[in-house]
């Protein structure tokens, strides 16, 4: 789990590492530009973890 998933603030090192792991070599300026949106997205995604779910994930669904 990335530190950002438990912290409201994500630092540049974490952004660099995350981008590199995903295969992107973005500059520090590019990463700084998206930092607020990444933080907002991770805050939103945390709501998924708070949702009680006992269902299997939807995969190939509702095709009849």
């Amino acid at each position: 789990m990335l530190p950002a998933m438990t912290s409201p603030v994500i630092d540049l090192d974490t952004l660099r590492a995350g981008a590199r792991l995903a295969g992107f070599g973005w500059s520090d300026a590019e990463l700084e530009a998206i930092r607020p949106q990444v933080e907002a997205a991770l805050r939103l995604l945390r709501a998924l973890e708070a949702t009680p779910v006992d269902a299997e994930p939807t995969t190939h669904y509702r095709t009849v």
Binding site: V38, L48, T51, E56, T63
Partner: protein, 471 residues
Amino acid sequence: MPDLFWASMTELAGLIATKAVSPVEVTRVHLERIAAHDPGLKSYITICADGALAAAREAESALMGGRPLGPLHGVPYALKDLYDTAGIRTTGGSKILADRVPAADATVVRRLAEAGAILLGKLNMVEFAYGPEGFNPHYGDVRNPWDRTTHRLTGGSSSGSGAAVAAGLAPGTLGSDTGGSIRIPASLCGITGLKPTYGRVSRGGVLPLAWSMDHVGPMTRTAADCALMLTAMAGYDPADSSTSVLPVPDYRVALTGDIKGLRVGLLRAFFLDGATPEVRAAVEQAARTLAAGGAVVDEVNLAQMASTAPAALAIVGSEALAYHATNLRTRAADYDPEVARRLKVAAFIGGQHYVRAQQVRALVRADVDAALAHRDVLLAPSTPMTAPALQERQVTLGDGPSPVRPALIRFTQPFNLSGHPACSVPCGFTSGGLPVGMQIVGRPFDEATVLRAADAFQRLTDFHARRPVLG
């Protein structure tokens, strides 16, 4: 014949079949309308004037020669520019695909051609369908025809599809809908737009945004025209593994106007409670109209709506990035900066988020199924507000302030997650003259009931028949 550009597809098909008008005349009228008004609206990326007129002349020959006619014989339409068209560029609203010319038609394009429809052109859209506002830095921001003085959003991503139909630049179009991209512009532009059940209409040959959330469907001025187009388009396609083998009914047969006993659930929490007062009042009045027509209306709430935004973010972001990763590495500067930003943010969505979102999706689907277990359709606003001005970034909704973007998709994306069919119809106008849209949501593969309710509502009201005055 005056105002042919305001005739519905159903009316045009009848006029052509009875030789009251020629396909060439109908096509020419629309091309003249496009030439006169599209420079201001920016709804088209590519206008296929020569091809359309050639097809219209061929349709006229078939008509005069007594050859068999399809249900859309000689009727013009236009396509969001993410449907492959053989020999005609398909840009996805992007610079990256600006010169891409497919070798073959998308499945639904082929089916509409077989039904006799004539392609007027390819429509403007948000780049790669990734955004609900209607902005496009490459081909221009499409202008909402309902306001001559203020540049207002059409909604997106099928921005050109919404504006062209509303302005009489095409009687019908195709859009695509991953988080609301048919229903949002339908709502903001005062037209009728249908997102069919996931699997009802083939996505073969349609550029994807997020495969498991993408739906394609018609945008027209009437529910009857949606039924006409859907009947011609729907059905199994080996080119799209998600398509159903269920038989396709003639959806026009369902349009009886009879809604006596139709069970309608009005969605209160999250939906009506989250809408602006004018939108809420219009949808509540629409529910009373349906009740006066014989429907049985009660109120119902969906429990899982708070989870829909994060689930949609995880799924759409992950799937979109998977599609765009190579171009994002090699041609990032060619993307709309806003689309590039969304794709970059998606790189930080983890695999566990994606799977968790798919689990939540199962809950959302079960939630909507439960609400429809004892009801035929659900009713909700399509968007919480009417068309914002171009520069507006924040809106005040029924439950507080919100940035425009999440506000636009809030009421529509739950049904992309669940896959249920949903049709947006105009249900009122604000005091400032802007249209209000209402969603009618039905059971999976029961587009017939959704369209019956939408058509019945349009027989009881005239909101769908009002026209903007263009400058």
